[in-house]
Symmetry: C2
Subunit: 341 residues, 2 copies
DNA sequence: TGCGCCATCCAAAGCGCTTTGGGGTGAGTC
DNA sequence: GACTCACCCCAAAGCGCTTTGGATGGCGCA
């Protein structure tokens, strides 16, 4: 069933039918009703490819998801972020195009989205320090929103981010207030912008109390469970083991907990752990009582906001760069306690 | 830069340029080279919308991801499955369209994919018992591959699945061989086909030894960490607590381990746990030594295979239904040991 | 009555590509 | 020298939709 069939059926022109369906005022309410009814009855849906060829709008948003170079992993936060964004897209009639490419092919992927005309805008995931994608996208005039920031970008761009520095500052202060002095930082890869900011927050808190950060207690890697485990295990074997861990995600935190328990220690009593919690749907931080004390910020909500922002920018491309900074909330769980003497 | 610009530039017709670019034999090698070079130099890429309007092929595959009704969760296995499928798509020049919709809107989503012509084929995720999507897709003649099976479908369809029954049969046998008799099954939601099969494997093993399954030891729910924890916690508090757990995913297994350790017990010594392991990239089952004894089957590999199968079906639609059954391998970890008296 | 003005509707021209159905040109054949 | 093939190439017709630039007719108003 195509437009022509429907218009023939109704004894109307394609123009009129198209206008009736798309809510243009040049058609009487009576015919509009008639057209709508017929379309409904025959299950007519416009062919998106033809439509977007005609309008020049793809009605689709592209997500280019980087394959973490080292082990080709796809970060589980994407699943939740995308779920949030997807909600918004389907509500607004947009499709979501996903392309999972190795880091080095990102630029090509963006260019292709542009020249092949397959999307109206792009969400940029996992910005790195010195990320060149922002410049590229501005250059090819493709609307985009970054999930996160690129600290050193010296041109305007729109982003949705969590206040990483503040969150880690608070978390560190919290541990310091409990009397902890030897705190290990189990961070994400520090070529990622978010990881840099988290470390900055950590150091800021130490500086504020005149404490020097110990490089031997600061780690950065892909946030897997075994990274958390192995790092904690090694640290706890040291004579000057840390009394607390500040961890960048709930996944390595699970590993940290495993290491603690393997050694017959008790998390919260012998060793404190505080983590960032993205509120991943399948890895909720406990049911009623939180397992981990955590800085919490829903990555799914970030997905929703980024999607909404991008659609607004597409509607009104000249409205300038926007930004949205989410604050994490500090929640108390069972994983922290006073430092033991 | 569009086709016409390029052909004007080259003093050739659009036909010739198009043919040169798409490898048709009607054009001399000399001109083909010339055309290719010019296309490359000017960064020409055909507009996908126009192309697929002309060819009738969307060059895109749709993934309709169900939002688990209860808590609107998106299962983390999707991330890895999609990563696998995405590899294949980009190698073959296909796009991946994702639409995340609540269960009740699935049918509509499929129909729209068809009528709006936005995809050439569909991957069906998370088939349920009595799933009507298979019938629907056959009816609207949309090529598709199911990740999993729908036991009661009485029409042909193509699928890629893991041998759930066999895997759980082996896992149960393994526990029985170790002397365990009270084994708890922490299963996924049993309106899911895979969960039914896993339970069947569990029961089969018990039956084979003349043991009756105890309904009080069989659980089914969404496979979150806290589901694993809470269930294990409650079970271990019983006077007739189970000596072993058979768990459907590594995520609830992490919860089970948490429960065990909270009670001061030691996994592998006091309580045995065996799990299914989808090889999720961020939740690897330990680094070198597996943490959990597990039936292991890569969901990412399943994604690759399903994608390849679907593209083959699209190439050759009349070739009949295909199927691909992956066997899980049983790997020994530290989470199992002989039943204690 | 005649004029202009809405309110409705339509024919046709694209959007950028593929593909059908030829049409020249030069080499090979008798 | 006429004829047949290949071999290259081209003009133009779609693909299914939107949108421009009218056409038509009914109505109020002077």
């Amino acid at each position: 069933m195509k437009l022509k069939d429907l218009s023939d059926l109704l004894q109307l022109s394609q123009t009129t039918v198209s206008r009736a369906l798309n809510g243009y005022p040049e058609v009487s309410e009576a015919t509009r009703k008639r057209v709508m009814a017929a379309a409904e009855a025959h299950g007519y849906r416009p062919n998106m490819r033809a439509r977007s060829l005609a309008t020049g709008r793809a009605m689709a948003i592209g997500h280019v998801i980087p394959l973490a170079s080292k082990h080709e992993m796809v970060n589980p936060v994407f699943a939740d972020f995308i779920a949030g964004a997807g909600e918004v897209y389907s509500a607004k009639g947009y499709d979501m195009l996903i392309s999972i490419v190795p880091d080095e092919e990102q630029a090509r992927a963006y260019r292709e989205f542009r020249t092949r005309g397959s999307v109206d805008g792009i969400i940029v995931h996992a910005p790195k320090v010195g990320d060149r994608r922002i410049h590229l996208l501005n250059e090819i005039e493709m609307p985009f929103v970054v999930h996160g920031r690129a600290s050193d970008a010296n041109e305007p761009y729109s982003w949705v981010d969590m206040n990483n520095t503040r969150a880690f500052r608070r978390a560190t202060d919290f541990l310091l207030d409990l009397g902890h002095r030897r705190i290990a930082l189990i961070n994400g890869l520090e070529n990622m912008d978010f990881a840099i900011r988290r470390r900055a927050g950590f150091q800021e808190a130490l500086d504020a109390r005149g404490l020097a950060p110990d490089p031997d207690l600061m780690f950065a890697d892909e946030m897997t469970e075994s990274y958390g485990h192995d790092t904690a295990r090694a640290l706890l074997a040291r004579p000057d083991a840390p009394t607390a861990f500040l961890v960048s995600s709930i996944i390595p935190s699970i590993g940290v907990r495993r290491a603690i328990e393997e050694l017959g220690l008790h998390m919260g009593r012998d060793i404190s752990v505080i983590t960032h919690d993205d509120e991943l749907s399948y890895l909720k931080n406990g049911a009623d009582v939180p397992v981990f004390t955590a800085t919490r910020s829903s990555v799914r909500e970030a997905g929703r906001r980024a999607a909404r922002m991008l659609l607004e920018i597409i509607e009104d491309p000249d409205s300038g760069a926007r930004q949205d900074l989410l604050e994490a909330e500090l929640i108390l769980g069972q994983s922290t306690g006073p430092a033991r003497a």
